[in-house]
Amino acid sequence: MAEAYTRRSPLQHFGLTAAAAKSNAAGAEVLIGESAHRAIVNIRGDGGEAFKAAVRSVTGVDLPVKPNTTAQAGAFRILWLGPTEWWVVTTSGAEEKLVADLRQAFIGQHAAVIDVSESRAVITLSGTKARDMLARGCSLDLHPRVFGPGQCAQTGLTKANIMLDQTDAAPSFDIYVLKSFADYLWQWFWLIGRDYKLAIKAH
């Protein structure tokens, strides 16, 4: 884990805080921003009852075993990655304790707990035209009758691999992207955003 004081956002050079202050959110069709750094812990296991109980004892979240769904309780959000793989997402700074607690809870089980917080940046997208904008580079059907809050998907957005997590019906999306792709993805959004009323949101 990088020390918090040495951590730089991969989008820092865009000066998003200042840009958000100048940005006019009134009447915007799409709000785009970079979320504050998050703690992301990758957990692997069979998803059985003992595994679920261990996850619940640490996070209070019922593990989402249905493919491409999420579950949240308090500060912890769990995203389904695969039949034996999940992400536990929470606020930055909690990762060390979370990893230790999960490892303790999994003792005696065939499981793995890895802190992957530093690998991803999170771009947030919301507003009435957010789906349209995503559809320009993503092959998933994001129509509300197919994809809604509580669902997540790993997919491709233009040339970047992303984890797409719909957080509410506004719609709002959290887009987890590898930090090395964050600059590219932001610039792509900026290019596509010329066709929409776009505003930068402060986080």
């Binding site: 493919p67 695969g82 039949p83 793989e85 092959s139 998907a153 790993q154 997919t155 491709g156 691999n161």
Partner: protein
């Protein structure tokens, strides 16, 4: 573009997947390995079916859940006839 139904994630675009070539190639047992000729080894390592018709092949949902599965695909029409889990024997299909 093919629309492939991942057994976990449902129908997704072809570009999310990677191709894993022919399925159901059994590795020779240790006993067989000790007595195999070079020709038999070459056959196991290099010789692949190239049918005009139904082909049983492996795919991985590389940009999604990263799980492997088997697909029965028609090599002329690209019709995906069946998606079935790893480890299952090839389904018996009526030739089209």
């Amino acid at each position: 573009m093919l629309l492939i139904s991942c057994p976990h994630c449902g129908p997704r675009d072809e570009h999310e997947f990677a191709y894993g070539h022919e399925a159901h190639i059994a590795r020779p047992t240790l006993e067989q390995q000790n007595t195999m000729t070079d020709a038999e080894w070459a056959d196991y390592l290099f010789m692949r079916k190239n049918p005009k018709g139904v082909h049983f092949e492996r795919w991985v949902h590389a940009r999604g859940c990263r799980q492997w599965f088997n697909v029965a695909r028609h090599t002329v029409t690209h019709e995906i006839i069946k998606v079935y889990p790893m480890g299952e024997p090839a389904p018996k299909l009526e030739q089209k």
